[in-house]
């Protein structure tokens, strides 16, 4: 019998936001080491936001992540609103949701086309595809450009947002802008999405299954992205938990190999993100999004993490349809020049939204003057580390007989599927490299 050694370290997995390493050592099919490590430098947001006025906190918090800045901004603003007991008008809720849909769509387009798709074309990035698959790249750019303009129009700038504040918006979109967006989404955007679905039908995702617990915001009447006053923390395994009790769900803990602060709820790990939302809230998807799911062969519950990208595509369709409905409402009612009203008081609030990559919590305590005393922020990527590690442990034995390069690519693809956003991560442990 020949000895076969599989031995590699992927240092700083590419096409993910932030830094992560994969370490694998195996001999004769026996796995000695299989680890997902995080060397990202901690940033201490929870410490450094102390003493700042809530408005500055809301403006600085999006700097946690360049890709999901709107999600962090919204969670941060919602935490302040809940602490000060600010009630949003219907118009503010609608425009916030419309902005959040833009966040979901831009991030998912970036992830599916720019970060995931190159693996299926056998290239290192989207750049060489510009020459070989010009139509695909141009379509991706169109989808991304419109979604960026859509967000810029509502918050001044997607990275980093400006005009969304506690209590609503300091600048409202005009009727002309809303009409432009409706026309764009109903017209060419929808066509491009349909072609995208056709493209994804042809991609073959690795055949892998690991059932775990799935956690996502849940609301009775919508496929929710912003918790607002009625959202709760839904689970595939249990009854919903109130947002204020999020610590009972996240249960952060340190692990012996100390790669990060991990989380678990009722099982060995839980997953958050597009697939978790799809599994928890499938019945509340827009009918057209359900059709996309059907066309792409994904059914809830789905236990293959590689299908997170497919669930993202389903969510793009949902977000676009949802936005068209919101636009119809806003256009029929007209836009009122409402001024956000906030009266600060001492208190605590937990903001909770579905960032593109999963459930996100900003928990703030303020003093009488609206200055921040304490903050706790739990980001989705950290919640998924434990799930990635458990996927690795099940996946590696299943592919160990394949050539090393293939194993390496499959494991990198798994990490990318989770769409990790590691620079967001607020609770990280230092790790040693095995070079």
């Amino acid at each position: 019998m020949t000895t076969k050694e599989v031995n590699f370290t992927v240092h700083h997995v590419a096409r993910v936001e932030g830094h992560g390493n994969i370490i694998v050592n195996a001999k004769d099919g026996k796995i000695e080491e299989c680890k997902w490590e995080i060397p990202e430098s901690p940033r201490f947001f929870e410490s450094m936001l102390r003493g700042l006025d809530y408005r500055d906190v809301n403006f600085i918090a999006p700097r946690i992540c360049g890709i999901c800045a709107v999600a962090h901004a919204t969670a941060s603003i919602e935490a302040a609103e809940k602490a000060f007991n600010v009630k949003l008008t219907e118009q503010a809720q609608l425009v916030r949701q419309l902005l959040f849909d833009a966040e979901t769509v831009t991030s998912h387009v970036l992830h599916t086309y720019f970060l995931v798709a190159p693996d299926f074309f056998g290239v290192g990035s989207v750049i060489p595809l510009a020459a070989t698959h010009t139509d695909v790249v141009l379509r991706a750019l169109r989808l991304k450009k419109v979604a960026n303009d859509w967000a810029d129009m509502l918050c001044g700038r997607k990275t980093h947002p400006i005009s969304q504040v506690a209590g609503g918006f300091v600048k409202w979109p005009t009727i002309e802008q809303l009409k432009w967006l409706k026309q764009a989404l109903e017209g060419d955007y929808m066509k491009d999405l349909e072609i995208t679905v056709d493209l994804f039908k042809t991609l073959k995702f690795p055949d892998f299954v690991r059932e775990t617990e799935y956690i996502a915001i849940t609301k009775p009447d919508e496929y929710a992205f912003v918790s607002g006053s009625t959202g709760m923390i839904g689970s595939s395994d249990a009854k919903p938990t109130p947002v204020n009790d999020y610590l009972k769900v996240t249960n952060e803990f340190c692990v012996p190999q100390s790669t990060a602060k991990w989380t678990k709820h009722l099982r060995e790990s839980y997953q958050v993100g597009a697939l978790a939302r799809f599994n928890v809230n499938y019945d509340r998807l827009h009918p057209r999004a359900k059709k996309v799911a059907q066309a792409l062969g994904i059914k809830a519950p789905c236990y293959n993490p590689f299908f997170i990208s497919v669930a993202q595509l389903v969510e793009i369709m949902h977000a676009v349809e949802n936005s068209i409905m919101i636009l119809d409402k806003l256009l029929s009612k007209g836009i009122k020049q409402e001024k956000p009203e906030v009266k600060v008081k001492a208190g605590r609030g937990v903001g909770c939204v579905e960032a593109p990559r999963g459930i996100l919590f900003h928990d703030y305590t303020f003093d009488d003057n609206g200055k921040l005393i304490a903050a706790n922020i739990i980001i989705p990527t950290n919640e998924n580390h434990n799930s990635i590690q458990h996927d690795f442990e099940k996946l590696l034995p299943e592919v160990i007989d394949q050539p090393q390069d293939k194993i390496k690519l499959t494991m990198e693809m798994l990490v990318r599927a989770y769409d990790p956003c590691i620079s967001c991560s607020t609770h990280m442990l230092e790790v040693k490299f095995k070079e």
């Binding site: 700083h12 590419a14 096409r15 993910v16 936001e17 932030g18 830094h19 990202e40 430098s41 901690p42 940033r43 201490f44 929870e46 410490s47 450094m48 936001l49 102390r50 003493g51 700042l52 500055d56 403006f59 600085i60 999006p62 700097r63 946690i64 992540c65 360049g66 890709i67 800045a69 720019f114 970060l115 190159p118 290192g124 990035s125 989207v126 750049i127 510009a130 790249v137 750019l141 450009k145 960026n148 918050c155 001044g156 700038r157 990275t159 980093h160 400006i162 005009s163 300091v170 600048k171 340190c254 100390s258 602060k261 990198e412 620079s423 967001c424 607020t426 609770h427 442990l429 230092e430």
Partner: protein
């Protein structure tokens, strides 16, 4: 040979790289004019050979500093991209507290496993040849810089304060709305984007070369605001720079 361009991310949100990615693909001429040899957020292709290095983010561990020194040795031209690299950006907010306190507060008993150093601008460690300020940087400025580098022209930073552009945009002065605006002392070039969107200037592009501190103080006095509050405002994006009354 085309100039080889590399992007390196240190501690930050990677929003600068995202901004570059957002518009880079739209500017087809640039794609042809340079070779991107390192851009980890968007590409798994990788190289240690490059002419122009863009530094994004802050150096927050000794290991980061060592990595930066190595990049400086290899690069002909080193560009600080974005507020974190140019001025320390929001990362320097942690400098307001002792590092032990930051560690203890966020990591509790596990604090001993971490290390972190106070934030300095990138040019505190290495020579920086050009600065693209802002959080995030303005897209057009990155294009202007690359054009200058390609044609051998000197890249001149924007000279006037945000206030000048803001007036041209006919915005109502943020001071009139009771806001602590840093527009009078902050480097322009952003087209006063934050005031246009209904807010104020937070100073993310760093101080203008010769800030009119007296004008700022006069405004504070006129609108009944304190220098201490303004100094805290200055620390939001410029905490790593010397700030004096």
């Amino acid at each position: 040979m085309k100039p080889r361009v590399a992007f390196f991310d240190f501690t930050g949100c990677e929003g600068c790289q995202l901004e570059v990615l957002n518009f880079y693909m739209e500017v087809v001429d640039l794609i042809g004019a340079v070779d991107i040899v390192e851009f980890r957020e968007a590409s798994s292709d990788h190289s240690d050979e490059y002419d122009i290095a863009f530094i994004e983010g802050s150096q927050s561990t000794q290991k980061d500093v060592e990595r930066l020194l190595k990049i400086r040795e290899r690069a002909k031209i080193l560009v600080a991209l974005g507020a974190c690299s140019c001025t320390g950006g929001v990362n320097a907010l942690k400098n307001r507290f002792p590092m032990e306190e930051n560690l203890k507060l966020v990591y509790g008993d596990a604090a001993k496993y971490y290390n972190t150093i106070p934030i300095k601008p990138t040019d505190a460690y290495v020579k920086v040849d050009a600065y693209i300020p802002g959080c995030p940087p303005i897209r057009g400025e990155v294009v202007r810089l690359v054009k200058c580098l390609l044609t051998g022209k000197k890249f001149e930073p924007y000279k006037d304060p945000v206030c000048a552009e803001c007036k041209l945009n006919e915005n109502i002065c943020a001071f009139e709305r009771g806001e602590y605006c840093l527009g009078p002392v902050t480097r322009g070039g952003c087209n006063s984007v934050c005031v246009n969107a209904g807010r104020k200037c937070w100073g993310c592009r760093g101080p203008v070369d010769e800030p009119n501190v007296n004008a700022e103080k006069e405004l504070l006095a006129r609108y009944g605001m304190t220098v201490d509050d303004m100094l805290l405002q200055l620390k939001l994006f410029n905490g790593a720079l010397e700030v004096s009354k």
